[in-house]
Amino acid sequence: MSQSILFLAHVSEAGNTLPKVSYEVLGAAVKLTKQLGARLTIGLIGADVAAAAETVAAAGAERILAVAGPEFASARYPSDAAAAEALCRAAGAELILAPATSRLMRVLAGVAHRLNGCVDTHVTSLESVNGELRATRWHYRQRIEAVIRRDARPWIVLLESGCEAAWAGASGVAKVEQIPVTLPQAATRTVVSGVRAPKSDAQTIRPDANLLFVAGAGWTKKQADGKTHIDQAETLILEFLRASGASLGGSKSLVDQTGESQAVLGFMTHLNQVGQTGSTPRHPKGLSACCHGEEPHVVGWRFINERRAVNLDPNCGWARGKADVLYVADAFEVLAKLNAILAQRSRTSADAVLQP
């Protein structure tokens, strides 16, 4: 039977392309379309989708549909749900693939209900086995991996980033069919007024960074001299983040200290929290310091490929098969030396650029 697949996405904040993860999901959609001999439709949402549509014009879709207009510029549940519902109905697809962006994660479960279909989120792979679609996703916060299939259709699947190769094709002229959507007054009650960065001296969360640096509660504990050195820890960590371009994560015990009014690292918020009750970021490398590496921490590392840790305890969780390398050392000393090396390298490369 010829299936129909809808690739659903929204334009990026810049407005002229799609979010990076969208191209990865498009790659999965194109692959699956070929495997199943299916028909591919692309559905786009945004204020103006013309430029973004051109970037996917060569993906081989039979149709490119769009719900566009100023009322669809912002990520708002009622308008996004109405737009996504209209696109899904217009496409009539049995399978709807979408990237797990915050915008689509917010609405597609509701859209599945409106379509009398089903939804699965945080899917890490989707494959066809003898014509049967199977999705892989994690349960219990990355501690149990399950393979599932669904009877209900349409099936909306939100795929995580970093699981598929991004579709890459030349931009071209896109013939976009506009799907009209009239929003009821109730759908415009909420007004999106903007975006706010977290209260921190510098932006420490960098999703595209090559390295994740995770700080544990050890940074705020008494050190060998019997005193805490929080100011020094703050300086060392911020200096390292600047020099390495790493993204900052924190263990729950460390970020919780903020709410409990204890002495804390000023730039660390719950947004940085990685692990069982935090995020599960995707970076090629991860470096942990002053964190014990127990299971609730490490579940947040499930998608970090290369892992190293610095800890004073040679029997900590990292030593039990959780990290590739565990350095048994004082993280304060190691980070100070590391910052000096990175600074030296930075000066050397700057000098090289200045040489005639």
Partner: protein
């Protein structure tokens, strides 16, 4: 504004994060080995939602606000968890004796939650705020709350909420997590609305025995009244469920000077 809010918090129990979880196959699908023996806690994000609900209710003008905790889970587990949670903030428990498994279907759980909320006597939709965790530590779908909202016909939904501030005109300023460690700021004119909470900003409330005693007057009868409901699979089939097999061969580096360790790490970072 207002006569206060009617805040319904959806939240269930999950295994204590420190426990080892091992999947086993049962006739009805996967489950956790010794699931009923594992100590449980209130789901962390749902707990944040409950604390935020209690905080909002206590600050709302007129103070006619009320908080319900709608909890779907095995009765014995709910009772165990309520012994702790009930000491923290004031709420009225509405319990349903059903599976809280991470392998249960979000659609079935949402249908049961919505049906239970609609049956709460005296619930005023014009003052209704539905709270819950944006994800659970069990299924982690991030879908259940939206499905509940759709069933309750609530259009204003927010997910990954870290802050809800009531403005002078009674509207809500809502901060939702988005990519890159940032927040999207929205203004919603008021109830009805649904909020899937991330961590919020409140510390865990201290245990208060007086609150506990007041709560327990309604918690125990609610548990006794809890009807037992089987959750349908809803066309969801598990083909396998297994813990991750990857075990790394950790190289433990001892007695190396900090300088040398730093050089090794710098080399690794730059590769």
């Amino acid at each position: 504004m207002t006569n206060g809010y009617h805040i319904v918090v959806c939240g269930s129990v999950v295994p204590d994060p420190l426990q080892t979880l091992e999947p086993v196959q049962t006739p009805t699908g996967p489950a956790l080995k010794n699931e009923m023996m594992l100590p449980a806690v209130l789901d962390p994000w749902a707990a944040h939602a409950l604390y935020e609900a209690a905080n909002l209710a206590s600050k709302a003008a007129g103070s006619n606000s009320k908080v319900w905790l709608v909890s779907v889970g095995p009765k014995a587990k709910l009772q165990q968890v309520m012994m702790t949670i009930a000491q923290r903030v004031s709420f009225e428990l509405v319990a349903v004796d059903a599976s809280a498994s991470g392998f249960a279907d979000a659609h079935a759980t949402a249908a049961l939650l919505a049906e239970t909320i609609q049956a709460i006597p005296g619930l005023d939709r014009s003052r209704l705020l539905v709270f819950g965790g944006w994800e659970s530590a069990s299924r982690g779908a991030g879908a259940t709350m939206q499905l509940v909202g759709e069933r309750l016909e609530i259009l204003d939904q927010f997910q990954g909420v870290d802050q809800l501030s009531v403005q002078a005109d009674g509207s809500f300023e809502v901060l939702e997590r988005i990519e890159g460690g940032r927040h999207q700021v929205s203004v919603c004119p008021g109830p009805p609305a649904l909020f899937g909470w991330a961590t919020g900003n409140l510390p865990e409330p201290r245990n208060n025995p007086q609150v506990g005693m007041a709560n327990m007057r309604t918690v125990m009868p609610a548990l006794q009244r809890a009807k037992s409901v089987p959750l349908p699979a809803g066309g969801l089939h598990f083909l396998s469920a297994s813990p991750p097999k990857q075990q790394r061969q950790t190289r433990v580096v001892k007695d190396l000077p900090a300088e040398q360790i730093a050089r090794e790490i710098a080399e690794w970072i730059s590769k």
